[in-house]
Assembly symmetry: C2
DNA sequence: TTTTACATACATTCTCGTATGTATGTAAGA
DNA sequence: TCTTACATACATACGAGAATGTATGTAAAA
């Protein structure tokens, strides 16, 4: 077997991950065998076992490839929330939608996690990781809503914790529906239209509006 | 093999479905074999194959068992929307959450569909059916929002179609998060708290409030 | 020369669909 | 009413294919 350079080996690894993404989306994780992935990549299972311990390891690596993008989104939220929390939250969720819909890899991996795998048994560790991520997200959002509350931006009766949970649920739901049936919920424009009522309910007046948005009434 | 009465056979069939629900939730659909289900039910695979053509058929029958409950929910929405659409919508979504969280079978089946299976390949027919259901749901909600609009209940800039999509997404997200981590989003109370801001944003004033709810500010 | 990045071979297990066996329910006939 | 023939509701056995993990081979990089 022709030995490869380290660069080439790294390219093989990426090719395997890219191929896995494609097949996992098409056929589901369970029904995609390592032989399927190897063949589609023009390699053999030996290559997969060289780079990854097993299917779960391959799947985990695939998921980890998109993590940095989400860290960056929350970093940005935190920075902007120090100035105008409500507007920061509006920008954040719009960026989240734009990121998910605008990056093919992120779209694929999020789609696979949500619709193409069963995170139980050996995959449970990934499920636990997802829950952690969800809780971190909720924490970030809650802190931004708390900051908004201190500035008097929250509408009467709105609690940061619940507002955060609701927003998280709304975004999750929008993404989920979009993944299932993209034509029924064209993003990102339709996402903005779905998010507006929530922001109208949670904040006072239009403190959450971005100067670039103009009036949402006109955009709808 | 002892032949059974029709009643007993029907009981066997139900037992198989119940057992499948339990195991599908625990282990995922793919990783639950028909032999697993048969053994857990104290039967053999022969019994499964007598009642169902294959695993997909069993899975389909399991899903169909919860359909009537959802038809009833939308029938009620339609009837109540004729009187007060906004309030009808509020009642509807609260009933949806109560139904999903209050019926063990519905919880299980919804959980399995959302988190424990990969609806591709042979399961695609079920996926198509889900999409249809989602579209019917969207239609129901849109019509209720249109009725609300005709009565001047919608806030300025809100379109029925988008309001319906957003509400659908919000409920879906709430249920999804609850299924994943019930302790993080205790339903139904927390669901109501997450839904209130959306209703506040979508409707004018408190036309959506149910007389039994009192002021949501107090409940939160 | 040693190590690496694969390819290939081997062995095992699992799951499925189908065929066959079997005891009993049920309906029809005597 | 009893008997019989058929159908039923399972249990068991068979065979085939698929997928996995591990061991081994190999040519080239380091």
């Amino acid at each position: 077997m022709v030995r490869r350079t380290r660069e080439e080996a790294e390219q093989t690894r990426s090719l395997l991950l890219d191929t896995a993404e494609t097949l996992f989306w098409e056929k589901g994780v369970s029904r995609t065998s390592l032989a399927d992935i190897a063949q589609a990549a023009g390699l053999t299972r030996g290559a997969i076992y060289w780079h990854f311990q097993n299917k779960v390891d391959l799947f985990t690596a695939m998921c980890q490839r998109i993590e940095p993008s989400f860290f960056a989104l929350f970093d940005a939220l935190e920075a902007e929330a120090a100035v105008n929390p409500a507007r920061a939250l509006w920008r954040h969720v719009n960026r989240v939608l734009a990121t998910i819909t605008g990056d093919a890899r992120i779209t694929r991996v999020i789609g696979i996690i949500n619709l193409r795998c069963e995170l139980v048994g050996e995959m449970d560790a990934i499920q636990v990781e997802n829950e952690r991520g969800q809780e971190r997200c909720h924490g970030h959002l809650t802190r931004a809503f708390e900051a908004a509350q201190r500035l008097g931006q929250l509408s009467a009766g709105t609690t940061p914790c619940h507002a955060a949970a609701g927003l998280q649920a709304l975004v999750k739901g929008i993404v989920h529906i979009w993944l299932l049936t993209p034509r029924n919920l064209p993003l990102p424009d339709c996402g903005t239209a779905c998010l507006s009522p929530y922001f109208q309910g949670v904040f006072v007046g239009d403190c959450w509006l971005d100067a670039d948005d103009g009036a949402p009434h006109d955009a709808l």
